[in-house]
Symmetry: C2
Subunit: 309 residues, 2 copies
């Protein structure tokens, strides 16, 4: 389907998201070279459904998912109180991905782009917004990789405003933070934005192109890092550290991530939501990396936001 | 210190809890035969502190903790809104334990006994209550073990009222439930009770003895099961299932457990709270045990509460 023949932003967004899912899955599969994504399509009882695409036991990726969903329904009291939204009906469509590589030298990555519409009783749009972002969770810190990731995201955003990357990078640092661990970040951040509301139709088109630019930047920001590190040799020591850090990933997602918690408490599709969790994870009491080690270096970079540009 | 020479319930409870911590650690160490508990004493900035005792890499227990804490402070707005409590100052003292065995045929166990006091501005007690319970999380179901666990807890409680076990067993079934997974229980339950408020001093003494009876039942309910199963042979298959089920344990604790969430959001001591998490954990997309397998049998028993008496 040609996007430009469609009239509503909503319809164009659905086509775009489905196309992006195919592109991203293909790019990741090619990088993996062994495993392929399996599609698990589902329907939502209250309206809509999704296409959960999962990959497991690849040459590079141990576990991951690139999911799309197009869902809609009545605004519930829970949504009114927790999401502070008004209106009668809602629509949401987005793509959400998390990839957990086997090799501890290859970072975990997460990205999400979404669009939301709210309607009054007559079905007229009363509110709409875009949200999204991408963030990187390395187990070992290569500063050049961190710079590449942030620089590439910035280049996608820059045409829309030179100040935007810095604002959305700050959001990301603040959001992906384990407040119960002295604000230790889940990784080294990226960009994160929400409630981007178009002022008019022209602005809506611009935000649509902004979302396209962000999602097109994704593979360029991540795949070169995977390529460069996927053949690094590692031992039990690096695996143990990877599993400990993955524990922090689980803690963030289950304790703090608004989307995860809201999804699980409102009867979302549990398996699609929890595809974000890593395959092997470890917890040890009061685990501390050796002073001066590469593990401690990573931890130091997670303890305070860092300027990567 | 002789408990009976102390006058306040609070002081007697503190002595009792510390003594119980020693007894339980000793019983578990003897069963393990290799590892010993390490004591990590800590102070709470707002008042009080605790003794976190952890064990790791034993012959039987892979990871576990038997923690006590005696904490107090000012009632905060967060406590008023989330815990619905009134008053000016509070005091809490309790023991909380979680043991994760290596062998997938030995169940994980959790128990907790606590006492809470609330004071007005003048320091007079305006409210006080006991809470607690114990519950079992097997990876493979031996019905005789489940019956032994529940029966032993019931025998501890029965002298205080023949109906109590059934009420507290029902609480446990309802509480330890992963509502985001169709109410699948974390394990096979046990007993759970909270807000047991004494009517008068005589009743307070009775509730104190009730807590003593419950905690004395703990080792008797659990150790014989450990003894019986700790030398069972197992393979990778059982380990994989154990790790998958441990994932559900993590989900319950981080998404639903009131104590964990409240502790983490109110600046509790993170490492002491999260000592409950298992050492090795696994997540796989939409994991389903084979129909008719021992793994599926366990799952079936977790899907619906079962009468073990």
């Amino acid at each position: 389907m040609e996007i430009n023949t469609l009239t509503s932003l909503k319809d164009k967004w659905i086509v775009f998201i489905n196309d992006m899912q195919n592109q991203i899955c293909k790019g990741l599969e090619t990088e993996d070279g062994k495993a392929v994504f399996i599609s698990d399509k589902w329907e939502r009882p209250g309206g809509g459904g999704g296409d959960t695409r999962v990959i497991a036991n690849g040459a590079v990726f141990e576990k991951g998912g690139v999911n799309t969903s197009v869902v809609y329904g009545e605004v519930t009291n829970l949504m009114r109180s927790q999401l502070k939204i008004e209106g009668s009906k809602w629509f949401a469509c987005g793509l959400s991905l998390v990839m957990h590589p086997i090799n501890p030298y290859v970072p975990t990555v997460h990205a999400n782009w979404r669009y939301f519409e709210l309607y009054d009783k007559e079905g007229s749009i009363i509110d709409r917004w875009f949200g999204g972002g991408a963030d990187l969770t390395p187990y070992y810190l290569f500063e050049e990789d961190a710079r590449h990731f942030h620089q590439t995201l910035k280049e996608g955003i820059d045409p829309f405003g030179k100040e935007l990357y810095f604002a959305y990078k700050k959001n990301s640092d603040e959001y992906f933070s384990n407040t119960h661990r002295n604000n230790e970040m889940r990784g080294i951040g990226g960009v994160f934005y929400d409630y981007l509301r178009p002022k008019d139709e022209q602005d809506a088109e611009k935000l649509f192109r902004f979302q396209q630019a962000n999602s097109h930047a994704f593979l360029k920001s991540y795949l070169p890092i995977v390529s460069k590190r996927k053949n690094n040799s590692y031992s039990e020591r690096e695996i143990e550290w990877q599993e400990i850090r993955r524990g922090r990933y689980v803690e963030f997602n289950l304790i703090h991530d608004r989307g995860t918690i809201f999804g699980l408490k409102t009867n979302g599709r549990t398996e699609s939501i929890l595809m974000s969790l890593p395959p092997r994870v470890r917890w040890a009491y009061n685990y501390q990396p050796e002073v001066g080690s590469e593990e401690e270096k990573l931890l130091q970079f997670c303890l305070h936001p860092h300027d990567w540009i």
